[in-house]
């Protein structure tokens, strides 16, 4: 089964160039012309690699990369302009696996795609599933929306990020330190209270009974976890 690549570029001539080369190298290709479209397309189609242009209108390449990384480990190659080192660095920091500088030659493009595929680890967890369901809770990753019993729940940015940690680690106990560092940053490593308050608030918003939580449970002395649901 051939690998599928999503090409994201606002310039039709680049889409044509990339598509022509990738198809003849045996890949399946789908395209998007801006960041928002990219996220929609990605959430509804299985994709094995993304070629992402940095300069785009609406949602720019960096923001798109970040958003995709919120719910997927899919390999990403960013396309940058020559001379913009900070773009390359930023792309890599935001989770891109490699970069390709314009102008590039067709053979270089194909070699990098092959290299990224070689390096990419196929993980069973890596889904681009657009929706996450846990009991009466539903997360729409593409829109960054959370629903409880078919009603939207309004979460602060931090609360959403915290919830994502749990949804990506169902059944796994996350220590307070893990959560503090990944959601707030390393300088918050020992600020346990801010985690407590945030979990309390999250429970208020998500749980039918905040004091007997079904979505975010406490494991005394160990940490917190989102227990697997018996029936999906």
């Amino acid at each position: 089964m051939s690998k599928r690549i999503l090409i994201v570029d606002d310039e039709p001539r680049y889409l044509r160039l990339l598509e022509a080369n990738l198809r003849t190298d045996g890949y399946d290709v789908i395209t998007a012309q801006d960041g928002l479209q990219a996220i929609e397309v990605f959430s509804s189609n299985p994709v094995d690699l993304i070629l992402l242009d940095i300069m785009m209108p609406k949602l720019d390449g960096f923001a798109t990369c970040q958003r995709i990384r919120e719910f997927s480990n899919v390999p990403i190659i960013v396309l940058t302009a020559k001379g913009e080192e900070r773009d390359r660095v930023r792309g890599l920091d935001l989770g891109a696996d490699d970069y390709l500088v314009k102008p590039f030659s067709a053979t270089e493009l194909l070699a990098r795609v092959r290299a990224v595929f070689r390096r990419a680890q196929v993980s069973a967890d890596v889904g681009q599933a657009r929706y996450f369901i846990h009991g009466n809770l539903r997360i729409d990753f593409a829109r960054a929306e959370v629903w409880r019993d078919e009603q939207t729940v309004s979460l602060s940015a931090t609360e959403y990020r915290l919830l994502l940690q749990f949804s990506h680690n169902v059944g796994r106990i996350l220590t307070a330190e893990d959560l503090l560092v990944s959601v707030w940053g390393p300088e918050y490593r020992t600020d346990k209270e801010i985690l407590w308050v945030s979990i309390a608030r999250l429970r208020q918003k998500l749980e039918d009974e905040p004091h007997s939580p079904k979505h975010i449970a406490t494991r005394s002395g160990l940490g917190y976890l989102m227990p697997p649901m018996e029936e999906e």
Binding site: P103, S156, D191, I194, W196, A200, T218
Partner: protein
């Protein structure tokens, strides 16, 4: 007269010093809270800040500490969130006492709450809640002290907000500076067609695949088009550089504007058959100017009109007004919105949202350079949906 006792003054002084001398906002809070606790007992404190960045004005927990009783209850403990919501609505200090506290086990569910708003001179930025399990109720002195410390904390948060805003502005500024950097922009503009030439030619040169005749032609045509574009760009850049240099030598002679425009119209019509032009000239006397360069001005205006207002009638009017010859050049295209209008004569400025890559971005800039070199003036008037009019005044 009642005077404030020395001890109190020294204490207040020490608090003020913490705020004035500590740079890091978290450290400021930790130190303030620790110092406050000597005179004012509480178990939990939580600071809620209105997220000024978010469109939805959501409430984030910025800081929380459990320093006294009941901190084993962790996430089940009271953090005064409901009280915070009230304070954020009322912008008033708020006190809540449990109705009836009899048994110790029930204490945790019935805390004493003191909520205070955090304010900057211009707006309400958040709320601070002190939580105390078990009595005594907050006294007037304690509420005053809490209020004082809250104002200091507001200060620390305001500083943090300003710092972040400053950082964002600085990033924006350096980005803008990069855009204004002529050399950087030029290389970027030139590399775009180069990217296609390199990309498509290496594609055709691939040894591992054969392209069918149609695709080969398609790619070769793209290479040709992009080479033309590159050429056009280089010409524009050079022309612009020439106009800018001090050694510019214009060929000044008496010229007839209507003749120049008619010539340009003929050339343009040869390339674009559907162009419709209406030219009128009142008091058509010659002026002093550089023939070739003035022609370029109108070629650029035509070029713009064809790209952005295709298949609409172009109306050109030449008239003498006082000491000037005024030329108006109007199309009936979609027009330009007010927010972009001031920038269209800027180098490389392209109205965002236009599909595809149209123009070199230098056309209008060069027009302005040429008109200015003639000691004239050029500007544009436009209404979305009603077309655009370029007005040029040249000394008569």
């Amino acid at each position: 007269m009642d005077t404030v006792d020395l001890q109190t003054l020294e204490y207040l002084d020490s608090l003020a010093k913490i705020v004035a001398q500590t740079e890091d906002w978290k450290l400021t809070l930790d130190t303030l809270i620790a110092s406050l606790r000597k005179h004012f007992v509480f178990d939990n404190i939580a600071i809620y800040i209105l997220d000024y960045e978010a469109r939805t004005r959501s409430i984030e927990v910025a800081y929380a500490r459990a320093l006294g009783r009941g901190h084993k209850a962790e996430a089940d403990a009271a953090w005064g969130e409901v009280m915070a919501g009230q304070v954020l609505t009322s912008n008033q200090i708020s006190v809540q006492e449990p109705i009836n506290v009899e048994h110790i086990e029930k204490r945790l569910g019935h805390p004493y709450l003191l909520g205070l708003p955090l304010n900057t001179p211009t707006e309400l930025i958040g709320a601070l809640v002190f939580v105390r399990f078990g009595g005594p109720p907050y006294s007037q002195e304690q509420i005053h002290l809490a209020s004082l410390v809250t104002m200091m904390i507001s200060h620390a948060f305001e500083r943090r907000i300003w710092k972040e805003k400053l950082k964002n502005l600085e990033t924006l500024q350096s980005q803008l500076r990069m855009q204004e950097d002529f050399v950087a922009t030029i290389s970027h503009e030139l590399r775009t067609p180069l990217g296609f030439i390199k990309g498509y030619s290496t594609t055709l040169l691939r040894q591992d695949t054969v392209w069918d005749e149609n695709t080969r032609r398609e790619f070769l045509m793209i290479i040709e088009e992009e080479s033309d574009r590159l050429n056009e760009l280089i010409e524009s850049v050079l022309e612009s550089a020439r106009l800018q240099s001090d050694t510019l030598q214009m060929n000044i002679q008496p010229v007839r504007l209507d003749a120049i425009i008619r010539d340009v119209t003929t050339r343009v019509s040869a390339r674009h058959k559907s162009v419709e032009v209406d030219l009128s000239c009142i008091q058509c006397t010659p002026i002093l100017g550089d023939n070739v360069r003035l022609a370029l001005v109108f070629e650029n205006l035509f070029s713009n009109a064809i790209k952005y207002a295709p298949d609409t009638k172009i109306t050109i009017n030449i008239q003498r007004i006082g000491d000037f010859m005024r030329i108006t050049f109007s199309d009936q295209g979609p027009g330009i919105t007010g927010e972009h209008l001031p920038y269209i004569f800027d180098r490389f400025y392209r109205v965002p949202g236009q599909p595809g890559r149209t123009g070199t971005g230098l056309g209008l800039f060069i027009c302005k350079q040429i008109v200015t070199a003639h000691h004239g003036n050029i500007w544009a008037e436009s209404m979305p949906g009603k077309g655009t009019t370029f007005i040029i005044d040249l000394p008569a």
